[in-house]
Amino acid sequence: MKALRILLAALTALRRNVMRSGLTTLGIVIGVGAVIAMMEIGNGSSASIQKTISSMGANTLMIFPGAAASGGVSFGAGSTMTLTPDDSEAILNECPSVLATAPVVRSRSAPVIFGNKNWVPHEITGTTPDFLKVRDWPLSEGAPFEDRDVRNAARVCLIGQSLVRELFQGQSPVGQEVRLQNVALRVVGVLEKKGASMMGRDQDDILIAPWTTIKFRVSGTSTANLATAAPAAGTSTTTARGQLYPGSAQGIYPARSAIQTKNSPMPLRMITVDQISVAATSAEETKNATTEITSLLHERHHLGEGETDDFNIRDMAEIAQALSSTTVMMTNLLLVVAMISLIVGGVGIMNIMLVSVTERTREIGLRMAVGARGTDILRQFLTESVVLCLAGGAMGILLGRGTSYLVTSILHWPTLPSLGAIIASVVVSASVGIIFGYYPAWKASRLDPIEALRYE
């Protein structure tokens, strides 16, 4: 209640000099307004930069099968096949930091033929529709193939822009059939242009089909060229080319007798994939995703303590680091700007409060004569400067929001409202009021009433 009266007295005192109060506050208004506007614009562009970098793959992880070793000789990464499509499903279902997963089967390069043209795409990838989500890769035309197509090993494909350019020359490819290794694939969609990758590879030079199609119809086995690497890489599926139906493999080996099976059990082979692509929920989450996937795969692959992993996880650490260092730089820069503008504003407040104390010396003397204690005077002047700063802060928030709104609507820059910045501004402007108002208020409270009353 008494505090209310002090507040009232402060407001009255400030109202007595509206123009000066307003101009004093202007420092804080501009300071806080600039901070808010910059934070919002900064946040907005930071988010859009993040989105851009993410589309470059900062949040993607790639899981490769581990290395096989035979007689002490390691055959290097990818020489065994340990990853299954079920692993991919399980990762998606059980790892909370994972946004999407897609198993990937690669085919050896082979010419894609359309009419009298042919072209060897850089990549022939078999996968699921989620691959587009993992790579953040929209279609420019047509529609993606579906999970049903994956189950049926349907003869459909998506093609990249380079392939369109080389094979179709202005013609719409959707609905046309291309041939790959004597398998006719219907083009259902065209991928949007993605340009070169970080390494300078043309990412648009690609053909994407359901992984079952690639594995069972096109390649037979995807790792035929690695088949010698390890016994585990031997395949129980099929090596026959141009096979029409998956799973209906006629064995090319003679059937084994019961004794043979008992003596040397064939390792239970699952359908394997060459790679699993994973998108984490954000670039920062890739670390967590890695941990989660590692423990999940340990469990699924029955790897005990101390056993070597039969898989490798690679992330885009370099890109992620560039991203986070950009963000940190930006935040720090804004912080420095904020500090400078608020200090300038605070010095303005202190200056005016000092003038005000000098000018109102007689008033202070009078207040002391009618019974104000030093602390009362201190409190009054401190309240005045805090009120000035808070009013400035409030107006600054409006100014900042207004500016960022204008920037969005006129310049079409992305902005992102930041509650943190608003709270910080209020706290900071109140602290500026206290810090820079304290000295003048203290000076006022130490005046000698006799001197003050006699002050001309």
Binding site: M1, K2, R5, I6, L8, A9, T12, R16, R362, E363, G365, L366, R367, M368, A369, V370, G371, A372, R373, G374, T375, D376, P449, I450, L453
Partner: protein
């Protein structure tokens, strides 16, 4: 009963090397309900005595008891409270707050009291007090809209709002013409006689001094004369 009892009050200022005794041992009593004029040439120490009586300044030595309480050695905050409760000040130059309504001026000392008074009560009391000094219709006027006499009456209402036992007036009529001087003096007298407020007026003006029943003349830091004057009708 004595409201003010001074025992050998001395005040010495030390200005670097120079030692400047201003009050050289003042002993005097003022009873409740008196109206006293304090006169003397400038430099005689009457302002210093006034500040000491007003609890604004501490004597170098001596005892000062106000309303039965020794106040010369109290800490600052307690003396501030004494000023708030027991003392009212009226100044030569009014010392009103610029661009503040009369009502707000008069309410101001209530803010510093120890007791909490609601805004409504405070306004009510300010109105009563302003009516008392004849300014009921000037409640919302600012100092620049008031004449000198009216300004001094606002200051008087402000000094009286906490019902002080002692009113200290430092040349209250120094800036007023003779007509308003008479009005203000009449008001002082009325307050003294009707409300029993003890009043001490520092003045140069023999006419003002003559309107008080008792006159204390100071010279060179000592009480030169302390006499009951024949009352002159104003």
């Amino acid at each position: 009963m004595n409201l003010i009892e001074l025992r050998d009050i001395r005040k010495t200022f030390y200005l670097g090397e120079v030692v400047l005794p201003v009050l050289k041992g003042i002993t005097l009593n003022i009873a409740k309900g008196e109206m006293v004029a304090l006169t003397g040439a400038s430099g005689s120490g009457k302002s210093t005595l006034m500040n000491t009586l007003g609890c604004l300044d501490r004597p170098t030595s001596g005892d000062y008891s106000l309303d039965g309480q020794e106040v010369s050695r109290l800490p600052n905050d307690v003396r501030a409270l004494m000023r708030n409760r027991k003392l009212g000040f009226v100044f030569q130059n009014f010392n009103l707050l610029a661009r503040t309504t009369a009502q707000a001026q008069v309410m101001m000392p209530l803010l510093y009291g120890r007791k909490y008074i609601s805004l409504k009560d405070a306004k009510q009391r300010a109105e009563t007090m302003l009516a008392r000094v004849g300014l009921a219709d000037r409640m919302d006027h600012q100092p620049s809209q008031l004449s000198g006499g009216q300004q001094q009456r606002v200051a008087l209402a402000r000094a009286l709002i906490n019902r002080p036992s002692l009113l200290l007036a430092d040349e209250p009529t120094g800036n007023l013409d003779s007509q308003t001087t008479r009005e203000v003096l009449a008001l002082f007298k009325q307050l003294n006689e009707q409300d029993g407020i003890t009043i001490l007026i520092v003045t140069h003006d023999p006419k003002v001094a003559a309107s008080c029943r008792r006159m204390i003349r100071m010279a060179d830091g000592l009480v030169e004369a302390d006499e009951i004057t024949a009352e002159v009708s104003s």
